[in-house]
Amino acid sequence: MGHLELQHTLTGHKGRVWGADWHPKNNALATCGEDKTIRLWSQEGNRWITKTILSDSHTRTIRDISWSPCGQFLASASFDATTAIWDRKSGQFECNATLEGHENEVKSVAWSRSGSLLSTCSRDKSVWIWEVAGEDEFECAAVLNAHTQDVKKVTWHPNEDILASASYDNTIKMYKEDPADNDWMCVSTLTGHTSTVWSISFDATGNRLASCSDDRTIKIWQSYLPGNVEGIATPDGDAVWKCVCTISGHHTRSIYDISWCPHTGLIATACGDDIVRIFKEAENSTKIAPVFEIVTAQHGAHSQDVNTVKWCPSTPGLLLSTSDDGEAKIWKYES
């Protein structure tokens, strides 16, 4: 059994903190929320302090934020139907591009591993892919209407230009570009959850995906490539995803976020029961029948719903969480 040690509590937002993202390189992070602001934090000595507050771009709740892989750009998705792109070319962070097109609330935003593509999704049921076309210029490369309901989350494969999305329609979908005509298309639909899929996270290899849902379960999905030794049929020559594990009986309310640590393989979840839980793959686990054990459940991690969990990309074992209670917290996992 391990445990989570609270390292820092980040206070400043007014109202619910919805999203957060670690800077890919520095000891810095960003948070956003109901107060329509983005706060940029950095570590100075043993304290995390607000360096900048970005407040003049969105007119409604900021739901999600994402750093580009190079760390130069920050994208923010808002209920005001726009996505803002921030950079610090002038020395301080400014919004130099606003992506419009969604009909209503933008729920999630994510950069591809190369930073040349950006994806957004919305309650309007669509997933958009944007190409970085030049300085402060973004071109819409695709509008994907595969989901039948509100799309909650988009996330990119860690090593390939494959996009995954999770929806209120209880499914997860995967997309890639057809090399024949450069059109993006939905290549798989992952069904199994019985209610809204709130979030998804790939493991370090991108061969596995973890999902969390309003049905209070986590599912682990395995990809089978054409010619796989298990003999799983791949009819269209694309990878086939199968649910190989369902983790139930732990969460008592909706699970809002999930993060699979690329360094340690640990899975963290953010739950509406105020608890942050950590799961670890068991010794007797196999590829086709993985087994995950809970290693800690931090009761009262926050005083209200936990909205986000994110493992630090640069320091293994550091975890960031945000909550309806207006706070973000940094935890250290000790095994």
């Binding site: 309650r123 309310r253 909706s254 509406g272």
Partner: protein
């Protein structure tokens, strides 16, 4: 606007709750109970009729449960007709009223009484989705309508 339910059944309001001596004594721990939750929501106005949710039996004390130990409150509400298009609005009004009145430690679930509405599952799913509720409450027109419903 045309009324969906022209002649709803109207029921008697319950009497005011009597305040006992222990309730005014600060040294006595007084957890929330079903009647207190009922008192918070019974006067909410029906969006269609000049009547309260209590008078239409949309909310009833025996359809409320309070679990103080686990900070959970569950409210079932009963639309007057199974095709009531106002069900989501009524549910939102109950949710907002409780959100504004109760300490944030409570987890509030608002659902349609099982078997009383044709789109029960869809309405319950919407009401349980806190992201959709949060977005809805940023809609100035909708919040105005809700404020009218919960204004006493």
């Amino acid at each position: 606007m045309e009324l969906e339910n022209l002649n709803p059944n109207v029921y008697k309001k319950s009497a005011e709750r009597s305040v006992t001596s222990t309730e005014t004594d600060d040294s006595v721990v007084d957890p929330f109970d079903e009647r207190e939750i009922f008192d918070l929501i019974r006067a909410i106005n029906d969006p269609e009729h000049p009547l309260s949710l209590e008078e239409l039996h949309v909310v009833q004390q025996n359809l409320i449960s309070v679990d103080n130990a686990h900070n959970e409150i569950k409210v079932n509400f009963t639309p007057t007709i199974p095709h009531c298009s106002m069900a989501t609005l009524i549910g939102l009004s109950i949710r907002v009223k409780l959100l504004r009145s109760l300490p944030p430690r409570f987890k509030v679930t608002v659902e349609i009484t099982p078997g009383t509405h044709s789109s029960e599952h869809a309405v319950n799913k919407q009401l349980a989705d806190k992201e959709r509720v949060a977005a809805a409450l940023e809609n100035a027109h909708l919040i105005e309508v809700i404020n009218q419903c919960i204004a006493v």
